[in-house]
């Protein structure tokens, strides 16, 4: 049995419009994998097919040797934590109450969270460095803190995989780095495999073990008009270690824009030209 996530020839369409096509990826346990690409390339869609929230048109997703479409939602939720994009709440729930909802897949239908659930929730909050927020109303904490709380909620699911959808969006510079460092810490210390989507190529360079660089499908049939360079227009431009994937050529391929690569003290930075 292979441990990790296998994506085999996956395709997806919204209302007949092809979004994802021909995706083959193999994600090993214990790494941070970042999905990167322009708006509309299907990053979020791909992330949601991984935990079965969206059903692919074709192909399959196999997690630790089991096909995801044969697992029940609570089963998947025990295995995969998921933080959807930018969340806000109308009710001033306490941070602890929010994190406790992550315990749902471990609680039977007619029960409510017990002492052990509360313990796990508090541990998760400590893990993301938000232990001091436990009793604060969720509506009164900062955007960065909210993101940490939602990550803690996903960790309270006690998952082996953590799916994060643009965890840095709407955050200021410092909070972006703060969240990414926390994610790194969780991956290293807890051995949780993190799969996230990001917008900033430099964040992908600095904080991931593997990068999946995606491009947008052009929606037309793959014969092309004279442009013979893409024999099949699948989404994945490149997949591998960040230094190999994040080259100016690949970025050009994915975003259609020119960048240069600058090296400084062994770190790489992509700058638009």
């Amino acid at each position: 049995m292979s441990r990790g996530i296998e994506i085999k020839n996956l395709s997806f369409a919204y209302d007949g419009q092809s979004i994802l096509d021909g995706i083959d990826l193999s994600i090993e346990r214990g790494a941070i994998v970042t999905m990167l690409g322009p708006n509309g390339c299907g990053k979020t869609t791909l992330l949601k097919t991984l935990n079965g929230l969206l059903r692919p048109k074709g192909g399959e997703v196999i997690v630790d040797g089991r096909a995801i479409d044969r697992m029940s939602p609570p089963e998947i939720a025990r295995m995969m934590g998921h933080v959807p994009q930018g969340h806000r709440s109308s009710f001033p729930f306490t941070v602890l109450d929010i994190v406790l909802t992550g315990r749902l897949p471990h609680i039977s239908t007619f029960s409510a969270p017990g002492e052990r659930d509360e313990e796990v929730a508090k541990e998760s909050l400590d893990l993301v460095g938000a232990g001091h927020l436990t009793q604060r109303p969720y509506t009164q904490i900062s955007g960065g803190e909210r993101q940490m709380v939602m990550i803690a909620r996903a960790l309270a699911q006690e998952p082996q995989f953590l799916l994060l959808d643009e965890p840095t969006s709407y955050l200021d510079f410092k909070n972006q780095i703060g969240v990414l460092k926390t994610v790194r810490k969780i991956a290293d210390r807890e051995g949780v495999t993190v799969i996230m989507t990001l917008h900033d190529p430099n964040h992908a360079l600095a904080f991931s073990d593997h990068v999946v660089l995606l491009r947008k499908l052009d929606g037309k049939k793959p014969d092309g008009n004279g442009d013979g360079s893409h024999p099949h227009r699948a989404n994945v431009v490149a997949f591998g270690p960040p230094f190999d994937v994040m080259t100016p050529m690949n970025i050009q391929e994915a975003y259609g824009m020119e960048v240069e690569l600058v090296e400084h003290n062994g770190r790489r930075i992509l700058l638009p030209l």
């Binding site: 939602p73 806000r88 109308s90 729930f93």
Partner: protein
């Protein structure tokens, strides 16, 4: 500095308030008992606590020499009315709290899906046109039909987005109001009067038979919400957030809407349209105890009962004549609602 002070204050309140909060919850859970006793004493025929206890004992077979008029007043008029007010208050508050959780908005009422308009039409139909159909049954059925239609209209591809629900509720309400207007035009003056009176909402037609017939479904609905109440916390975070922890939000939305609609329809069918109780009670509780449904739902049951029965005391005993209690709750509720609307900026609706 100011923020720091605010934080310290909050932490201090939290640390010292743990037992205090528990005590307050206990107090609110017991509120229906004094509210019941007070309500039994009040009326055109005032009773002392001793007399109430005495009459209860007399009922159990002890002959204490009370005149039989006492027994009629207390057992045939006052007791069913007090119990019905308490039941209706509980139901409206619990279903209001549940609907607010489902809609992720503290300002919605149990009537948001057209329940009250459906009930009003059903009642009018029975009072004015189909006389052999009991008002209670007709109002109950049409309120459920309205909610069902609104829910069905808002559902596409197995999903029921909250915004679609709000809009379909508005449309269904409009349709039933139009139908109600047709009935009102067609019927004679006497029927029209009883329709208008029914719509104002009142407890003065309370009887044991009304209580008995509405209790089973009301109880089933309330119990369903009570048992599953923690899940309202998850639903209140949003569909995406529910899905991500393995909950099917559509299934639970349907369960809670059915439970709340069954209960609220039973209440409206016996008491008419009593406005804003389902809004005020959960909101007051949220202001004191926070939004956690594990606490909010049980307290809505008890505080809703106490609140409603005390307001009904006002309705029947404050002036020389009876004021429909729905008018009082609306007049108390409207300013409160306006205040909430401004204080919470439309309840933080996205």
């Amino acid at each position: 500095m100011k923020i720091e002070y605010g934080r310290r204050w909050q932490i201090a309140v939290h640390n010292s308030s743990f037992n205090y909060k528990g005590m307050l919850i206990g107090l609110f859970l017991l509120l229906p008992i004094p509210a019941f006793l007070i309500s039994m004493m009040i009326g055109t025929f005032p009773l002392t606590p001793g007399e109430i206890v005495g009459l209860m004992l007399a009922r159990l077979g002890m002959d204490l020499g009370y005149p039989s008029v006492y027994e009629t007043v207390i057992f045939q008029v006052r007791l069913p009315r007090v119990l019905m007010a308490m039941m209706v208050g509980s139901i409206l508050s619990v279903s209001g709290a549940a609907f607010q959780g489902i809609f992720r908005n503290p300002l919605v009422s149990p009537y948001i899906l057209g329940l009250s308009s459906g009930a009003a039409f059903g009642a009018a139909l029975s009072l004015g046109v189909i006389h052999w159909l009991p008002v209670q049954i007709s109002a109950f059925l049409f309120s459920l039909i309205a909610v069902g239609a609104a829910y069905f209209m808002a559902t596409t591809k197995g999903k029921t987005p909250v915004v679609s629900l709000v809009l379909s509720g508005v449309i269904i309400s409009a349709v039933f109001s139009a139908l109600l207007a047709i009935v009102q035009i067609a019927v004679d003056e006497k029927s029209l009067q009883s329709i208008v009176f029914w719509m104002m909402g009142s407890m003065n037609t309370a009887s044991w038979s009304k209580l008995e017939s509405s209790l089973p479904l009301a109880l089933a609905g309330c119990l369903g919400i009570l048992i599953l109440r923690w899940r309202l916390n998850i639903l209140a975070l949003g569909d995406e957030e529910a899905l991500s922890v393995g909950m099917n939000p559509e299934k639970y939305k349907a369960i809670f809407v059915v439970a709340a609609a069954l209960a609220a329809s039973s209440a409206v069918a016996v008491a008419g349209i009593i406005g804003l109780v389902g809004l005020i009670v959960p909101h007051m509780l949220r202001m004191i105890f926070g939004p956690d449904h594990r606490v909010l739902i049980p307290l809505s049951i008890t505080f809703g009962a106490a609140f409603m029965v005390l307001v009904d005391d006002l309705a029947r005993a404050a002036l020389g004549f009876e004021i429909p209690v729905g008018i009082i709750t609306t007049l108390i509720g409207a300013p409160f609602f306006a205040y909430l609307l401004r204080a919470t900026r439309a309840g933080g609706w996205e």
